[in-house]
């Protein structure tokens, strides 16, 4: 398609990462904390975007993948005393396993049934975290001790409780996820997903294995979301059932819609914008859900392409 745009695509994404890197020393303390959180949650949104934006699969249950990473990392570190990197890997593995299991079952359905099935599976995961409250402490959650979250590297120990280290770790995860999405989107696999979104029947007729490609999309999406969850547990030291609730299935949808579905930069733009909209409005009113609700309705009514999507449509057709 647009192979000539590679240089400026790389330049744009690299530029964004460098800008975010510079912000580590430029942002005031409070906003650096907010940004660390946004970067991790943007990875969650990016994972969601792989399915919703590029493959056209609207899931209402992505909190379960985030929770798989969160608990995969949190429980192994808290109860088994695993070192943080091993906990992170356990989170990824939990996310992958759950994504494959849910994918195999849920992908047998389409459309409305797919949305409800994913919602139901996520609800089962949420209830599981409440049912095993002896281990998870349910809504109250677990707090990981700071020394359990240290990342021992040869010659150095990274301490995620230090704001600057935390920001840089979050940024590293974000950069890796961003690079992965750009690579996927530009690879034949990404093109196949978009083609499935546009016309599934035609792809099947052309001899593509639609189910395998969709399953791969669910797996990639699940692993990215689990990475965000595991990183959240290790960087912020809190693991609670609230992250498995329906609300955390809706939020990535909102962020991706706002930023622009099927754009690589949409998730971070949407997450950033929504966080600051809520942050600013919470100065005037405590009605945070009202803002979320109105944003969803207004976006879907008047602005279905989102910020980056509109940008791409009007002025910058080369955006991936």
């Amino acid at each position: 398609m647009r192979t000539d745009g590679l240089a400026r695509i790389v330049a744009l994404h690299l530029g964004l990462v460098l800008l975010l890197l510079a912000l580590n020393w430029l942002l005031p303390e409070y906003h650096r904390g907010v940004f660390s959180r946004i970067l991790v949650l943007a990875v969650f949104a990016m994972g969601y975007n792989v399915m919703f934006g590029y493959t056209g699969l609207l899931s209402l249950g992505h909190a379960m993948f985030f929770a798989a990473g969160l608990y995969g990392a949190g429980l192994t570190v808290y109860h088994l005393g695993w070192p943080a990197p091993a906990g992170f890997a356990a989170g990824l593995a939990a996310g992958l396993a759950l994504a494959l299991a849910v994918g195999v079952l849920a992908l047998r359905t389409t459309g409305v049934a797919f949305m409800i099935v994913t919602l139901m599976f996520a609800q089962v995961i949420y209830l599981l975290t409440l049912y095993f409250t002896t281990y998870t402490r349910g809504e109250e959650g677990l707090v990981l001790a700071p020394e359990d979250r240290f990342i021992a590297l040869p010659g150095a120990v990274l301490d995620p409780t230090d704001p600057s280290t935390r920001y840089l770790l979050a940024l590293a995860l974000f950069a890796a996820a961003l690079a992965a999405t750009v690579a996927i989107v530009r690879a034949p696999f990404g093109r196949t997903l978009v083609a499935i979104r546009e016309n599934e029947e035609r792809m099947r007729m052309l001899g593509y294995d639609v189910f395998a490609n969709k399953l791969a999309a669910v797996a990639v999406s699940g692993v990215l979301c689990a990475a965000a969850g595991a990183a959240y547990a290790l960087l912020f030291g809190y693991v609670g059932a609230g992250f498995a609730s329906i609300q955390y299935s809706i939020l990535p949808l909102l962020w991706v819609l706002l930023g622009g579905a099927a754009t690589t930069l949409g998730p971070i733009v949407g997450t950033l914008a929504m966080f600051y909209v809520v942050d600013v409005t919470s100065g005037y009113t405590s009605a945070y859900l009202l803002v979320v609700g109105l944003a969803l309705i207004l976006l879907i009514l008047y602005f279905p392409r989102g910020l980056v999507g509109t940008l791409r449509e009007r002025w910058l057709p080369w955006l991936p």
């Binding site: 849920a106 049912y131 859900l289 009202l290 976006l299």
Partner: protein
Amino acid sequence: MSFGPHLLLATLEGLVTSAVLALMALGLSLVFGVMRVVNVAHGEFFMLGAVVAWWVASIVGGHPAVGFLAALVVSPLVVAAVAFAAERLVLRRLSYEPEATIVATIGLLYIIQQLALTFYGPEARPVEAPFSIRVTLPWFGYSGYKLFVIAVAALLVVATWLMLTRTRAGLLMRATQYDRETAQAFAIPVDRVYAGVFALGAGLAAIAAVLIVPIQQAHYLMGLDPLLLSFIVVIIGGLGSLRGTVLAAVLIGLSDGIISVFFSPTLAKMLATLLVALVLVFRPQGLFGTAPR
């Protein structure tokens, strides 16, 4: 108490759940059947019905029955009006596209929930039951009001059924459900039927809420559990099949009541949810539904 009476108690509790669930799921099923819209805000219409019922009952005063009856009339009307407005202002403009309407009704869910929290507050408030008769059974006394709920719900389900099969409005709805375009070609005002069905569905949820509010207090978060249960019912019953919906409501309500009495409620919910997801996966037309044309 020995096993038999214990089971009877669980069955009665299950029937109360079934009754409320049947009304609520009927509304959801009607909206899905006719409009092909998955209304995620249905639980909030239920909650709104309960909150309005409390509000009406607290204004009216006097004998509890007067307040309750006033609530039973006013609350469904208010909720239906809200739903009607939402349908006209939002859903119609999305031309009922499934994914867009789901996102929009999620937005609606948050808006209604937040408004209830802001104006009604986080407290749970009861509405007094219209009468307090205890029916004495040989083993235990049982609330007469709960039996009344079961009876009223059964009556309303039959009334809805008659409305759908015996009246002109019902005929229009069924025609629209069967084939929207042909219905339109025969000069059926499909657009107005949609608005009416959406309001009717919300009204049914509100009636369910008014009935339950003397048993279970009105709270701004009360909508989520019934919403998920209604989804379960509608799916098990077969999306859009009303007969299946009512049957499934009784089945789910009873099993929920019985499992919750003998086992943990969380386990009951978990099993039911998992079961439903699997039903949708392996038998998408539902247990009682027929395969789509």
